[in-house]
Amino acid sequence: MDETLISKKDLLEETNITYGQLYRWKRKKLIPEDWFIRKSTFTGQETFFPREKILERVNRIKELKEDLSLDELANAFSPSTKDIELSKGDFEKHNIVSKNTMQIYEEQQGTLKTITFQTALYLYILDKALETGEIGWEEGKQLTQTLSDYYPKLEQTHASVVVLRKLGVASVLLVTNASPFFVDSKTKVAVHLKIEDVINEVINVFVRSGY
């Protein structure tokens, strides 16, 4: 059996949760639909999960559910988390992104007064992309533009940001995770970030900063 997957039965045993909890969390969108993988086994159909992701998520839910209601949690895990809003000063105080990133973003999108979760996410993605050293100022702007234009349309789907470079020209792509993609040999994948992972990091940062 595939080692990166875990069956539902093993998951419940390992994390000590019940069927009811698992189904409730699924209804509340705490666990994404596309993590439920159906496979035929000798006992009929069984459900499997990506092992690492689900274990991490379940443990996080168990940790956080003491302090937060399920709906608040759902907001925290949903890519369209909208309720959080910080003042720019507070945001900068926590050193979540570099000054450079902030500058590029503001040049593109206008000066920020408050920072929503969405904005924080864009900033964080931009910051990570710049950190790789693969993209420059102008391309950062391109990336920001793409995110703010198209990411809201994706809503709940799990997507990746990809920056491709060919002959010195960069293109920004926003792709859903459902299928892998391949590029020709002259094209270089400069940046490839899973938005889901970034969201998790941003949430971590926010939680650590007490929001």
């Binding site: 039965k9 045993e13 069927y19 009811g20 189904y23 409730r24 209804r27 006992t43 009929g44 159909q45």
Partner: protein
């Protein structure tokens, strides 16, 4: 669409009207909404159809209803027959029959009658009294699941399912390949291939292929 905001849509008699944003959608008679519709309240009486997705806060229906797309609501109350692609709601109450080609996700579901759900049913509290006709569902997952068949004149109807999983499960007149849960109780008339339970298992008068404590 913005121009329609906060207006009511009323159809009395025969009529076909476009979808959009409304405060209230009321149909009496034979009405068709020819597109996606969003409203605070939806009230259908007679034979009604939505040719798209429907999103309400409260949805009440008497008679026959067809929703080609997804139904999203806080509260759904149906007396009659509802055909829908999928439902997401806090509360779902049905007296009659529900046909769904996709998944049903509700916190509390109350059925007096039956259903044919091609997808999976994910529900917090499920209480079903099987009547009218046989019911089928691919999969039920939830917390408290109660399936009974108590009708007039001692007529019983059956539920057929592939898989039922829940914390506490009580079943009557149900055929299922696999039933898994913490506490499982089988009343009369069940035929279950495999039962897997964590705490308690009680079998009053049913056929079980194999029962395992996990």
């Amino acid at each position: 669409m913005g121009n329609y905001a906060m207006k009511d849509l009323k159809i009395v008699g025969d009529g076909s009207y476009p979808g959009g944003n409304y405060e209230k959608v009321a149909i009496i008679g034979n009405g068709i909404v020819s597109g996606d519709v969003t409203a605070g309240e939806g009230k259908f009486t007679g034979s009604c159809a939505v040719q798209g997705n429907a999103s309400f806060e409260i949805f009440r229906m008497v008679g026959q209803g067809d929703i080609d797309g997804d139904l999203i609501s806080e509260e759904v109350k149906v007396a009659g027959e509802l055909n829908v692609k999928s439902i997401r709601s806090e509360l779902l109450k049905i007296k009659g029959f529900l046909n769904s080609s996709g998944n049903i996700e509700v916190e509390e579901m109350n059925v007096k009658g039956g259903f044919d759900i091609k997808g999976s049913l994910n529900v917090g509290q499920l209480s079903v009294n099987l009547q009218i006709a046989p019911s089928t569902v691919t999969e039920i997952g939830g917390e408290e699941i109660t399936i009974k068949s108590r009708g007039l004149l001692n007529r019983t109807y059956r539920l057929e399912a592939e898989l039922i999983e829940g914390d506490s499960i009580y079943l009557e007149y149900t055929t299922a390949k696999v039933v898994r849960g913490n506490d499982i109780e089988l009343g009369p008339g069940c035929q279950i291939g495999l039962v897997e339970y964590r705490e308690n298992f009680e079998n009053k008068d049913s056929k079980v292929g194999d029962a395992k404590k996990i």
